[in-house]
């Protein structure tokens, strides 16, 4: 069987244009099932996001796809190769940036890239050219002789990205690439990834904790929780699945028990939640209309509004809607503060 036919056979179960195909994949550690039959496809040239809290199974999933851990059951095909049967071919087709920063701090930027180019057997003639281009792309050319330990966190992450691309892969896996970076460095990484994707015709699979990152970068997003895929679509389509598109928060000067029912009768309102000190959270399908009518109602009733805010649906809301919890609730709790849930967000 020729390689082309074999590739076709491998990807036959997946739609045309699929570059990563995952079919009912399972990972078990003893009795514990970390990934419970997840299926999805990633199209060529797509940026695909895997969202999930700590322990959701997204890193396990990415590790199976990158051949780092064996698949217990199910099938995954990457660049036309089965990850269980053709691990070597998969490894040649992918670039991987693990969660931890794994560049050697004792080596220089250039040495790190050279070692990895040799591990991928990049011919010497291409090696130097590739490294020079990548250093330029990640803006580290002037740091090429610097020891990695002297770089900032953002620069080290950029080095890791360059390292993952040193052999010119088709697919790029990034496991939480901006964790621990300051907001400016994060934005710089996003922009760089977008540029690299365009220039190198990459398909990118990214896992992240950050909703804004997923929203800004990803063409499609899969939400993983407790080892299961709970939602998969474009960011816009996911937001549209959440009941109500806006949350209006209003605080009145006087507390009045009747306001709950008055607010519920406003057009477009899907639910109202009452809090202490005259605060109400109103979920609405039309935020601007509800706000206008709420202000008019308050004026008619002689009620003074102390505070008013309107928020559109975010991916945070999508996540809470599908999983019933905040994405990073463990971290938030550690600091003694828990984000209140939006009304009506339970699926």
């Amino acid at each position: 069987m020729t390689a082309a036919l074999k590739d076709q056979a491998e990807t036959a179960a997946f739609p045309p244009g699929t570059i990563i195909g995952v079919d009912n994949i399972v990972k078990r550690y003893g009795d514990f099932e970390a990934v419970k039959g997840v299926s999805f496809n990633v199209g060529d040239g797509e940026i695909f996001g895997l969202l999930g809290p700590n322990g959701a199974g997204k890193s396990t999933l990415i590790r199976m796809l990158t051949t780092l851990i064996p698949v217990t059951a199910g099938r995954a095909v990457v660049a036309g190769h089965d990850v269980s049967k053709e691990s070597d071919a998969v490894r040649r087709a992918i670039g991987v940036i693990p969660q931890a920063m794994t560049s050697d701090i004792d080596l220089t930027v250039e040495e790190n890239l050279t070692i990895y180019a040799k591990l991928y057997e990049v011919p010497k003639a291409h090696r130097e050219k590739n490294i020079a281009e990548l250093l330029e792309a990640v803006d580290l050319t002037k740091w090429r002789k610097a020891q990695t330990k002297t770089l900032s966190g953002g620069m080290r992450r950029r080095l890791e990205i360059a390292r993952g691309l040193v052999h010119g892969p088709q697919i790029f896996f990034l496991d939480e690439p901006t964790t621990g970076l300051d907001p400016v460095s994060r934005v710089a990484v996003w922009e760089m990834l977008n540029r690299l994707k365009e220039r190198r015709k990459l398909t990118i699979l990214i896992t992240t904790h950050y909703m804004d990152e997923a929203d800004r970068l990803c063409d499609r997003i899969a939400i993983v929780d407790h080892g299961k895929l709970v939602a998969l679509d474009t960011p816009l389509a996911l937001k549209a699945t959440v009941p109500g598109s806006s949350v209006v928060e209003v605080q009145f000067e006087r507390e009045d028990a009747e306001w709950q029912s008055k607010l519920e009768q406003l057009p477009g309102v899907t639910s109202v939640e009452s809090h202490a000190n005259g605060l109400y959270r109103v979920l609405s399908a039309n935020g601007s209309q509800t706000t206008t009518q709420l202000v008019e109602l308050a004026a008619r009733e002689g009620q003074v509004i102390k505070g008013l805010s309107v928020q559109n649906t975010t991916l945070d809301d999508v996540f809470v809607y599908y999983t019933g919890r905040q994405l990073r609730d463990e971290q938030v709790k550690a600091h003694g503060f828990v984000m209140p849930q939006r009304p009506g967000m339970q699926p």
């Binding site: 851990i69 070597d88 490894r91």
Partner: protein, 370 residues
Amino acid sequence: MTRMFAIVEREMRKFFRSPALMMVSMMLPLVQLVVLGNAFGGKIRNAKIGVVDYDHGSQALKIHEAFQSIAVNIRTFTTVDYDNEQQAREDVRTGKIDGAVIIPSQYSRRVLADDSPAIGLVVDNTDQTMSGALEQEMQSLVDALNAPQIQPLVVQSIALKIVELYPYVEYMKYLLSGSVALAMYVAVMIGGGMLYIDDKARGIHEGFLVTPITRLELVLGLNLAGTIKAVLSGITLALIGSLAAGLGVIFHPMIALQLFALIVATSVAFNGMMFLMMVRVEDPLVPRAMFGVLNTLLFFPSGAISPISGFPKWLKAIAICDPFTYAVHGLKAIFLKDGGWVAIRFDLAFLFGFGIVTLLVATPLFKRTL
């Protein structure tokens, strides 16, 4: 091969960027060589011996003269006179003096009457080195006193003539072989085992595992780098140690070649052993905890400090399987005996064989996945 050498290159670049690592790996063996080499193996000098003379006769005087001769010549001990045995015993017990010689009353009369004369020696046998030296010295003295003044017509005493094959070997020279082997062991443990587990814990290996490098390339790359580090450490310590111990033999080209071969074989064996032990370890504390235990378990039974023939059976059994034993034996043959290839060929065969077998066992145990 490119991939294997990429691993070697990475390891060696790291090694040369951390000269402290090389220094640390040689510190323990060097300190051991200098301190133990000077502390042990020297002759006892200027010990204090109490003399209780209840006789004061002509034969007792001979003993006093012999003591004076020892005090000014080989200086093993000097004497202090005591009036009573009780006080001398008490001072030996409290450590004021190192031993006491009791010359009983009627000693001279018994000697002249050939009536079983005896002198007593009180020693502190908790210090076996000191008591052994004093016993040996006193025995020589008694043997001299026993020698007949007029030779009999037929000499019946049989003398043992000892032929020493090599010049006097100071303890530091004796210890050098063990120190060189120890330097290689420390280099393998710190530069190999500990760094390997630390890299695993930091996720460095995760980076390697997503590349197309094969299990064998990774194992051979890590072991080749470990062997080179241990060889460098062994050569450096052999040079420094030889200069410190006053051994010039290693500068002879053939001996240098034999030494290099044995150092390579030892490094291969130590690396194979270390890799087999560490291949499934994940916790960075494990190699640190194992370091001291293994050092004691492998170094001391090897004959580096004292001869294997004096060990109990179970310790001899450890010595037989211990690669240190063969490294130390071979190095002694090179440093002290100039025994040629014949003297080290079994050591070379064992060490290379041991290294290859342990690697063959370790390679399938090495996980190509996380």
